[in-house]
Structure formats: C-alpha cells, structure tokens
C-alpha cells in the first residue's frame, strides 16, 4: 500500500466557471483570462512536463480526468491514499497582482476539488488553495474549508515570497488550529537570483535550492517555535539535500543564535520534529547510499514516497527506489511516515 504525497490533478479553466461569482467568471468566460506563465522553455520531455502516456485519450491534458487517474495510478499501484497538490495553474498565491481575483480563484478551486475529486474517491485527499498575498483573506478561506475531513494541508507555492515573514503568520495559526499541515511546492523558484536560467536542465537541477531557501526562512523567522504543532511538508524537492541543510543551519545557529533569539531549538531538531520531505524526484542510488543519507538525517521518519503523477519525472513505486530496502523501513516510507505526519490521518 502507498500513501502518495504528491499527485497533480489539473483543472481546465472552464471547469471553474460554475464555482465563480461575477465579476470573476466573466474574466475567464468573456476575456479568456489565464494566469501569467513565465517558463521560457518549450518541451523538456516527450509531452512537455507530463508523462506522454498520461494524456487523456480524448486529448485533454494529463491529470484532468479522475477515471483515467484511477486506472493508471490509484488502482494500478494499490494506493491507500493520494494527496492532491494541484497543477499550480492557476496558482492564486503566485499571482503578482489582482489579489481579489486570486482569492476568488482559490475558493472556486477548493470547491471544484471537493466536488470533482475528494467526494468522488475515498482515497483522495486535498490541499487548500489560498491567496496568501492577503493573509486575512487567506485565513477566511482556511476557516471556510479547513474543517472538511479530506482537506489535509494548506498549499503554498515556493515562488518569489518568503512565507516565514511574520506578515504571513496568521496563515500558519489558522492551519495549526484546523489540524492542517502546510505543503510547499516550487512554482517559479527564487533560484538564479529570481530569474530563469538559460536551460531547463539548470532550473530542474537546482530546484532543491529553492526549497532550502524556504526552509531556512521558515526556521529562522521562528515559525516553528511560535506554532509548535505546525507541520511542513516540502513537496517535489527530494530529500538528498536535507542532511547538508540540517548541518549548515545547526552550525550557523550555534554561532549566530543571538540574531534570532526566538529560535529555541537546534534547527535540525525542528526539521526532524515538524517537517516531512517527499522523495521524488529520486536520484538513482544503491541501498547503501540511500540509507547513508537517511542515517545522516538522524531519522527514518521524515521522508515519504511520492510519485508526482502525471508529470514527466514521475517516480514509479516499484522501480524508483533501490532494491532490497528493509521491510520495516519501506513501510515507513510508503505509508507510516505520512500517516504519522498529517494531523488528520
């Protein structure tokens, strides 16, 4: 069995129309508004950023059809649970203006997600989309859908804002109150000095650095001391960078604690106690190398398997991991770590 911690469902903009009031509806219906997208690269794989065999046979984009996802992913791999993380299109918290529209889109998306996915398959769990640029409105949305039994986390993109700033703390307070984790997934990561590098391969290689930016920001801005029950899951950055970051933050904290006296634990302890990392995209590793990294993290309980379905760099549950991992550890990796991490599981 698997609890898959990163599955990307995709909405077609017209599917949001029934969930939008005016005037928001007409911007899509009449003006064909879509969120600005900036990636300058064309086709990194056979079918853009999707698995070529995950396109819906009728031509719709990958991730848009529940029955197809059930057949290709959930049934094929004995999924116990899958956590939907959206396609970052739209990504309300990434909008660089027009936060009112972002707020309306977030609500519409959540309602659509509940109707079309969470209520249709008991294995599916959801992420609450918010427009975090205006925390007071984001909190209202968390209050509105946070008690839904299948909403397990609040989704924040890793983009050009550092969410650890106290300005955004009401979001974390609301998440903690509703037993929701925070899930962070890169969108347009602040690597390469906030710009796109020349090649997709550069960007994709260094995605973990954007996760490192955010973790460091959240830790030293005191989020985890202020909200000791808050959980943070870092999605799609892998985990092999984590031992380095833990050691680096600990060493810096040992010297520079006086700058951030609100941080009261060693950063590596904060990581172990309040964070979880999804495994995909996995580098090819032998068991010995894989377990060495786990050992360096000082915990077998802070990584969780994810497929990233239906994207091109999908990790297969039966092929991606090194062979012969120990049974107890595999159980933690595939199900128990996620079960323990999410307050609602």
């Amino acid at each position: 069995m698997i609890i898959d911690t990163d599955v990307h469902e995709r909405v077609l903009y017209e599917e949001l129309l029934p969930y939008l009031e005016q005037p928001w509806r007409r911007y899509i219906e009449d003006c064909h508004w879509i969120q600005e997208k900036h990636m300058p690269y064309t086709q990194p794989a056979v079918a853009g950023v999707d698995r070529a065999d995950a396109r819906i046979p009728d031509g719709r984009p990958a991730g848009t059809d529940l029955a197809f996802m059930q057949e290709q992913l959930l049934n094929a791999n004995s999924h116990e649970k899958a956590i939907l993380t959206g396609a970052l299109d739209p990504s309300p918290s990434s909008m660089h203006g027009w936060y009112e529209m972002a707020t309306a889109l977030a609500s519409a998306y959540n309602n659509w997600q509940i109707d079309k996915w969470l209520d249709q398959d008991e294995r599916l769990y959801g992420s609450i989309h918010i427009a975090a640029q205006e925390p007071q409105n984001a909190v209202k949305e968390i209050e509105r859908v946070g008690s839904h039994p299948k909403m397990v986390q609040v989704l924040l993109p890793i983009d050009d804002k550092l969410w650890g700033d106290p300005y955004y703390h009401p979001i974390f307070e609301a998440a903690q109150k509703h037993n929701l984790a925070i899930g962070m997934h890169h969108n347009e990561p602040p690597l390469y000095y906030g710009k796109w590098p020349k090649y997709f391969i550069e960007w994709h290689t260094l995605i973990p650095t954007s996760h490192m930016n955010m973790i460091t920001n959240m830790v030293f801005n005191g989020v985890f001391d202020k909200f000791p029950n808050l959980k943070l899951i870092m999605i799609e950055g892998g985990f092999t960078y984590v031992p380095f970051l833990m050691g680096k933050m600990d060493q810096q904290y040992t010297d520079l604690r006086h700058e951030v006296p609100w941080v009261k634990r060693m950063p590596s302890d904060i990581v172990r106690e309040q964070m979880l990392f999804t495994t995909q995209p996995l580098e090819s590793m032998k068991k010995k190398d894989f377990m060495q990294i786990v050992d360096q993290m000082g915990s077998e309980e802070i990584i969780s398997f994810s497929t990233d379905y239906p994207h091109w760099d999908y990790d297969s549950p039966v092929e991606a991991l090194p062979p012969n991992l120990d049974g107890d550890f595999k159980k933690k990796l595939f199900t128990e770590n996620a079960r323990k991490f999410y307050p609602k599981f």
């Binding site: 990194p44 794989a45 056979v46 070529a52 090819s284 999908y314 297969s316 092929e319």
Partner: protein
C-alpha cells in the same frame, strides 16, 4: 521462438507500434531507412512503456556551445516519462551512455511480414 508482428505496410518510416513476443511486450520501430527494429517495451530506468514515447530525432553532440544539429530523425526512441534517448539503429543503446541499452530482438522481413525472434 519467432513471431509475425505486422505486415510491412502497417508501419511507415519513423513509426512504431506495440506488440507481443511470447509473454513479452515489445515495441517494433521502423527507422528512417525503412528497416525494422524490435525492443523490449520497457525502459531500463523505471520500466515505462517505450511504445508510449516518441520515435524522433535528437541534437548531435557538438563542440560548439549553442549549436543544435538535429539528426537521426525517426531513429531515436524517446521514453514517455523521463525522456531518455535510445538509438534504434545502434542496438537500442542509450545516447548519453552507450554502455546501457534496451534489450533488442532480431528482426527479419519475409513475404512482407515482419518477424521478430527471441
């Protein structure tokens, strides 16, 4: 064992199809030169079905930064997931490292029938 997998007209140069050889799923490719090649339909990386990928070309290695010389159109089998490239005319060897290859099968054409052997 040997098995007829298709009629020669069923595949044009640059096209491929999924078939079976005994218990194996295989992918039959017709390269740009019109010859037929057959491989195990399973990527050596994570087992993706190669027949769902693309028979296409690839930019040749070059010494000049910024230069793209697209070549071998119809001869490169590209995986549907991670996009790894296998040269069908070079025993299914991976472009980035020829040490690794997809398992290939012997193919003949007799009386307009494409026959794969294992």
């Amino acid at each position: 064992m040997e098995q007829v997998v298709c009629h020669t007209d069923e595949l044009q140069p640059g096209e491929m199809m999924e078939s079976t050889l005994g218990k194996h799923s295989i992918v039959v490719c017709r390269a740009s030169d019109g010859h037929y090649y057959a491989f195990l339909n399973r990527c050596i990386h994570q087992g993706a079905p190669l027949s769902k990928g693309k028979l296409c070309g690839a930019p040749a290695p070059t010494d000049n930064i910024g230069e793209y010389n697209f070549e071998k159109d119809g001869d490169i089998l590209r995986c549907p997931w991670h996009g790894r490239e296998f040269d069908v005319k070079n025993e299914g060897r991976m472009l980035v490292n020829e040490k690794y290859k997809v398992k290939n099968f012997h193919v003949t054409v007799e009386n307009n029938q494409v026959i794969v052997y294992n």
